[in-house]
Symmetry: C2
Subunit: 220 residues, 2 copies
C-alpha cells in the first residue's frame, strides 16, 4: 500500500487538479505533523499545524476531525514507509535469523539517515509496539516461523519475545539519537548478534550472521 | 535518599505542624501527578491537578512553578522508589550476572504488583533511559563491572548495551501491561535468560541463573 502522502508528492493523485490539490494539502498536513512529532511539539494548536504545513486553517477539517487523528495518521504513514523499506530488503531471504538480523541492522543505520523519522517512533515509546502495523506483523510472523522450524529455541511466547526484541531496538535507536558520535553500524550489528544469541542461535553463527555484507545502500 | 513524599506520609517531616501540613500538600500533589501519568492524562490544568490531590489551587505554587516541574518530580520519586527496592534486593550479591538477572526478574513481577507505577515508566518511553537516575547508574555500574571482570563478553560500549537491555525490559513491561493474562514471572525469567546469553554467558548457566530462587516476596 502506498501512503496517500507519497501519492500526492509524486503527482499521480486521481481526480484532476482539485484532487491533486486536495492530496497535496493532506500530504502537507501529514508532513507537518511528522515534523512536530519529531520535535516533541504535540501541544500545538490546529492553527500552528496549518501554519507549519503552509495551508489554510479551514482546510484542516476537510481531512481530519482532530489533531489526534492527524498525529495518528502521521505515525501510521511513517511506520508504513519504514516497513516497506525493511520488507524490500528482506524479500527472498528464507532464514528467519537472517531476516531478523537484517531488520535490526538496517533500522539502526536508518536512524542515522532519517533521524526525524526515528524520533517519531521514539516519541511513541513502547506503546508503538502494541500497534499492529505491517512492521510488527512481519516481525511476529518471522519470529513465529523461526520458532516453528526450530531455528530459534522456542521462547515461551512469540508475543513476549517480539516485545523484548523491539523494545531493545527502540532502546538502541534512543541511544543513537542521544549519541550522535556513536558508531550506529557497530551498535546495530552488536544488537543483532545479541538478539540471535538470546534466541538460541549458536554464538559464533550469530556473530557471523550479524556481520554479513549488507545491501549496498546500508554499507557504511 | 528518602523521597519527600514518603517523609510526609510517615509524619516525620521537620518544622512542626505547618511543616508537616506543607509536606502533606506536596506529597498529595506528587501522588496526584503519579496517578495522572499512569492514566496518560498529562493534558490537564493545574486546577484539575489540585482537585485530584484535594488541595487548594493556590498551594500548587508554594511547591512547583509549573505542571512540567511537578510531573518531572513525580517521575523522579517513582524511579527513586523502584531503585531502592531493587537495590535492597541485590545488596551483597557479587556476581554481575546474578545482579542483572535479579533486577530483570523482579521488575517484571513488580509490574503485576504495581501496575500504576509501571505505567508511569511506560508513559516516559525510552527517554526515561536517558535520565541518569539511581536506577540506570546502578545498572550501568553493574554492567561495567561484568565487562571488566570478563563475566560478560565485552559489548562495544557499555552505554549501548545498557540501552538495549533496559529497552527490552520496557518492552516486556509494556507487554505485561497489555496482557494481564500473561505469566509475568515466566516472561521476566525468559528475558533475564536471553539477556545473559546475549552478553555471552553460557546458555545453560544463563538458564540456571534465571531460575534461581527469588527473595520470598517475589516468589509466585
Amino acid at each position: 500500500m502506498i501512503p496517500e502522502a507519497d501519492t500526492a508528492q509524486s503527482g499521480r493523485a486521481p481526480g484532476g487538479r482539485t484532487g491533486r490539490q486536495r492530496a497535496r494539502t493532506r500530504a502537507a498536513l501529514v508532513s507537518a505533523a511528522q515534523t512536530l512529532l519529531a520535535q516533541r511539539r504535540i501541544n500545538v494548536t490546529i492553527r500552528e499545524i496549518t501554519e507549519t504545513a503552509d495551508v489554510g486553517f479551514g482546510s484542516f477539517f476537510n481531512h481530519f476531525t482532530s489533531k489526534e487523528e492527524l498525529f495518528d495518521e502521521a505515525i501510521r504513514v511513517t511506520l508504513a514507509r519504514h516497513s516497506e523499506v525493511l520488507d524490500s530488503l528482506t524479500r527472498g531471504i528464507d532464514d528467519p535469523a537472517r531476516v531478523l538480523a537484517l531488520g535490526i541492522r538496517t533500522t539502526g543505520r536508518l536512524q542515522r539517515e532519517q533521524p526525524e523519522m526515528a524520533r517519531v517512533f521514539l516519541h511513541q515509546g513502547t506503546r508503538l509496539l502494541l500497534d499492529d502495523t505491517g512492521l510488527t506483523s512481519r516481525a511476529r510472523a518471522n519470529l513465529a516461523a523461526g520458532v516453528k522450524s526450530g531455528r530459534f529455541v522456542a521462547p515461551p511466547d512469540v508475543e513476549f519475545a517480539l516485545m523484548a526484541i523491539l523494545g531493545a531496538l527502540l532502546g538502541v535507536v534512543q541511544f543513537l539519537d542521544a549519541h550522535p558520535e556513536a558508531d550506529a553500524g557497530a551498535s546495530a550489528d552488536q544488537l543483532a548478534e545479541g538478539v540471535l544469541a538470546s534466541l538460541g542461535v549458536e554464538p559464533s553463527e550469530a556473530r557471523r550472521i550479524a556481520r554479513e555484507p549488507l545491501p549496498p545502500a546500508f554499507e557504511s
